[in-house]
Symmetry: C2
Subunit: 116 residues, 2 copies
DNA sequence: TTGACACATTCCCATATGGGAATATAATTC
DNA sequence: GAATTATATTCCCATATGGGAATGTGTCAA
């Protein structure tokens, strides 16, 4: 079995850094035309269109026509799914950070006065 | 340029559903041996080992030896990066949900009494 | 030493990729 | 209609994939 298609789901779609970049631009600027993305990202137009196609297939962006332009817009609710998934692990990373902090504190305490 | 390697970063690593599953199991059960994962996930042992290799390369898990077993453990701080990235878009999805709610409320208000 | 076990690695293959180049399509202007 | 502009699609290719099968490696036990 080969790697799953990038259009399989949000997780596969956002694996590509260029596509994450596109989402970030859309988040900042609202509805953006393809040509504007081409300029902003310094990519070829076909490359941008293909990435947008992937993002669209997984529901991360939506399009609307305006004259001969296509305005792409972020559909953030799909990103909430990523957020929610990662959030499951929240207590784990905060616990681990706690442990690191505790160890650091213990070390500095031990250094200040090992005779205590 | 082909697709980036799965070991490139956390985003590429978690694109694979099996690997997300593995992380979830590790989150629930702490330090887990490979053979236990094989049973739990119903995958072949080489498949599990390969996925663990990917997760390890991007720092999502760590290993420790115990006899002939290898115990794998979640390193959650790398997942925090995913969480933080997605969180950037938080206001977007909550705003969008707000707009949906507002529209729904307006509809029901209009239906209850268009004469008001 | 010889097995037996736990795990990692290698070899294989069908398949999807991202990007460039070229081309197609659609809307606008003249 | 013809030329122009904005975008999408197609064709190409080097490359990485996930899984199965087979094999390698390290550790324990007798």
């Amino acid at each position: 079995m080969p790697r799953a298609a990038t259009t399989t789901d949000v997780f596969n779609a956002i694996a590509e850094p260029r596509r994450r970049q596109i989402l970030e631009v859309l988040a900042r600027r609202g509805a953006v035309a393809v040509s504007a993305l081409v300029v902003t990202l310094g990519m070829s137009q076909p490359a941008v269109s293909k990435h947008l196609g992937v993002l669209r297939k997984v529901g991360l962006v939506s399009v609307s026509k305006q004259g001969q332009q296509r305005l792409y817009q972020l559909e953030a609710k799909e990103l909430k799914r990523v957020h929610d998934w990662a959030k499951k692990f929240e207590q784990h990373w905060s616990h681990q950070l706690d442990r690191i902090k505790q160890r650091a504190e213990r070390r500095s305490r031990d250094q200040r006065g090992s005779s205590n």
